[in-house]
């Protein structure tokens, strides 16, 4: 029973913390010099960091950052990528040929490397972070939707729609897109999990949101210098990231089984 509901509970908590974010920003940045590096107690649940700020409050503020970036990036790259993949896959011809080449080039960069380079060159900040991750993220959705459209466009109902004189817009949005939604939802769920790690990773490298704004990644980086004296500074954000990502991955697995989807890898 717990195993079944835990992922939903944790993801909801993450979302709620993100919504509560703006109200805790002030207390997350509140410096109390007397509480520097204080370990967890009953009154200060998760302890305090090297500047005497509440780790719990910073976790909540960091939830906002990670939610905003992960959902923003996946939303942006899913919309752009799907639109490109749909269009190119349906049209075929030189357009499709060019797209396949472009996708190949983007996939030639291992994982997060291109995002690190882009964020590093454009400079830190949450908007550049979202742009850098989206510039890398759209490729997966374009590849997925293109592949699906290739196998769907010769179906009878599409042929019928063409024969009835439906516009291309209608065919793409009414006859093809709904059939793509299930695999896209699964891909996007895993995508959000990946982006939570990516955002924290870039912030860990100092390329994400800048101080005093909180990010789980920068909390781990700051805490790493005080590990012996105050292990809670690293433990709290790390366990939080792990739980959120684990929940999202479990949700993705469940959705995949439920929607009966075999992604091509």
């Amino acid at each position: 029973m717990i195993r079944r509901w835990l992922p939903y509970l944790l993801i909801s908590l993450w979302g709620l913390a993100a919504i509560a974010g703006p109200w805790v920003t002030e207390s997350a940045n509140l410096i109390d010099l007397e509480k520097i590096l204080q370990t967890p107690t009953l009154s200060g649940l998760l302890g305090y960091d090297d500047l005497g700020r509440s780790v719990l409050m910073r976790l909540l503020a960091g939830a906002q950052t990670s939610f905003l970036v992960a959902v923003g990036v996946v939303g942006l790259s899913a919309i752009v990528g799907t639109a490109i993949g749909l269009f190119a896959g349906y049209h075929g011809g030189w357009l499709d040929l060019v797209l396949v080449r472009v996708i190949d080039v983007f996939l030639a960069f291992p994982g997060i490397l291109l995002a690190i380079a882009l964020a590093g060159v454009m400079g830190p900040g949450i908007d550049n972070l979202i742009i850098a991750l989206s510039a890398v993220g759209w490729v997966g959705y374009a590849r997925l939707s293109r592949g699906q459209v290739l196998s769907l466009r010769n179906r009878d109902h599409v042929t019928a729609a063409i024969a009835l004189g439906s516009s291309q817009w209608t065919i793409l949005t009414k006859h093809l897109l709904p059939l793509l939604l299930a695999p896209l939802i699964v891909e996007a769920t895993f995508g959000v999990a990946g982006m939570v790690i990516a955002e924290a990773g870039l912030s860990f490298l100092g390329l994400g949101v800048q101080p005093p704004h909180a990010s789980w990644g920068s909390m781990i980086r700051d805490g790493a210098s005080y590990m012996l004296m105050a292990p809670h500074m690293v433990l709290a954000p790390g366990v939080t990231i792990m739980l959120v990502v684990l929940s999202l991955n479990l949700l993705g697995d469940r959705l995949r089984d439920y929607l009966d989807i075999r992604l091509g890898y």
């Binding site: 190949d104 997060i112 805490g223 690293v234």
Partner: protein, 309 residues
Amino acid sequence: MGGFILTRLLSALLVMLGVVCLVFMLIHLVPGDPVDVMLGESAIAADRQALRTSLGLDQPLAVQLTDYLKGIAVLDLGDSLHARQPVSSLLASRIPATLELAFAALVITLLIALPLGILAAVNRGGVADLGAMGFSMLGLSIPNFWLGPMLILCFSLWLGWTPVSGRDGLSSLILPALTLGTAFAAILARMVRSSLLEVLGEDFIRTARAKGLDEGSVIWRHAMGNAWLPVITLLGLQLGALLGGAVVTEVVFDWPGIGSLMIESIQKRDYPVVQGCVLFISLAYVVVNTLTDILYGLVDPRIRSGGGR
């Protein structure tokens, strides 16, 4: 057969060209004037002009790209702005450390993933399966920039078994390799499991069992032999991804490889070096992937005939 290899090589070449163009464009994404950003506002006009000329930024874009391509053909990636030496020699001094880390991580990946995957497949639905897949799910969800510090805390600070950071012999290699390898082991273990399960459902396995072979040789001689292919492909893909994932791990452990060079250069706004690092890792990735593709084709005739991906 020759045709198959040629097609693969040609398409790899095309991809590499695209990668070079994209990396070339990086410096043009610097907000404002890259020269201002690199030298700072206070630099004198003559220095600015000198840097602009040496980077070729005063030339038309097409000329810059041609020059960049020409440079790469003779391994000239420009000069570092801070170290006052060619980017290529900076890279060369860091490559061995990154390769060492990637291979060690690959070995650890195999050491964890193979037993785990096989154990899970053989005991499908049992406690071992549940445990192995639970571990794999956990491994996928732990970010390496957290696992690294945690391992340092346990094994370096508390137990004192390994150095905290740096590259000094085998003992300093274990923790970074473990950090880098865990996530990949998690993915690979799932792959080994599903690939082995698929084979175990085939008729020839039933035949092997029916003729009275013991379970050990059914698994090792008959099933694993056929389960290797998808595993090897994934491994090839991962060796490249390891090189990319190494960036964060290298920073955590202060490992003197390409990844930490890249982050150092980003902090110093030494963009030619950043370009060089991205270029090296991506090109290495393309080469490894192409080799895997070709190898796969050599081993399995079904791929050659165009079934492809």
